[in-house]
């Protein structure tokens, strides 16, 4: 005589023949995404930094990053320098977020 508990436990632990199931699973496994590589981070952050440098060089004359930081510190958010610094910071943050999400 069996109790319900025994019947449930036996059913849960009964061995089911594989019948090719594992092989089918292995056949359908997707290629693993390449692991995070340092060069990828360097590429994203490097191109972001290059873009920032170019933006600073091509900015209207008299606009410097330091001036932008000083503008932000004095709550002048809409000067060309402040906007350039904000844009650079946002771009770097987005690049970092992309890398973090990828990881």
């Amino acid at each position: 005589m069996k109790t319900l508990e025994q019947l449930l436990v036996d059913d849960a632990h009964a061995t089911m023949p594989d019948d090719g199931f594992s092989a089918r699973v292995l056949h359908t496994l997707p290629r693993r995404a390449p692991r995070h590589l340092p060069w990828k981070a360097a590429l994203i952050l490097g191109s972001t930094a290059l873009g920032s440098v170019l933006a600073a060089l091509l900015a209207p004359s008299g606009t410097t990053a330091m001036q932008g930081v000083l503008d932000l510190a004095t709550a002048r958010y809409f000067t060309p320098g402040a906007l350039a610094v904000l844009g650079t910071a946002i771009t770097l943050a987005v690049a970092g977020a992309v890398l973090a999400a990828d990881e």
Binding site: L4, L8, D11, A12, M16, F21, S22, L29, P30
Partner: protein, 185 residues
Amino acid sequence: MPPDASQTDADLILAVLERDDRRAYGQLVLRHQSLVRTVLRRLTKGDHALADDIAQETFVLAWRNLKHFRFEARFSTWLYRIAFNAWQSEARKKREVLLDDPDDAPMLEDVSADLPDTASRIDLERALATLSDGERSAIAACYYGDLSHEEAAKTLGIPLGTVKTHILRAKAKLRARLTGAKETP
């Protein structure tokens, strides 16, 4: 290809993560396919083809997300959770899945006597198919997924008290079904 008992699940998982070792993953599938397919057959009310499709999806999802596996939990428990979620998503495409469903049916008499010798796994499969989604899910989590009531409540997303009620009701219904007992008014 018989499972290699000398390697633990953790060894095989590390081999997959470090060397992208598909053979090691094959060992994990071979080792756990029986439990995953059995529990899915019970959850799908005996639809073996659907259960195997969801089991396949479960192992593919596990492969994709293996890097998120935390070694504090057993691999089988982690797999069970993926399988349960995959079943729930599949079931919801066709109908609403009610895990927290209040059952107004009278509580069946708790037949504590042993089951007749003739009660088989096939009878159990049929009896499980007559339970509500919530009752079947609770039984699957606690007996097939080997989760505690607290873990089952967390996995199913329902209160602990509801899990306990589902288990009690389910066991009473199963006993009644398997012994042919009558409902009490």
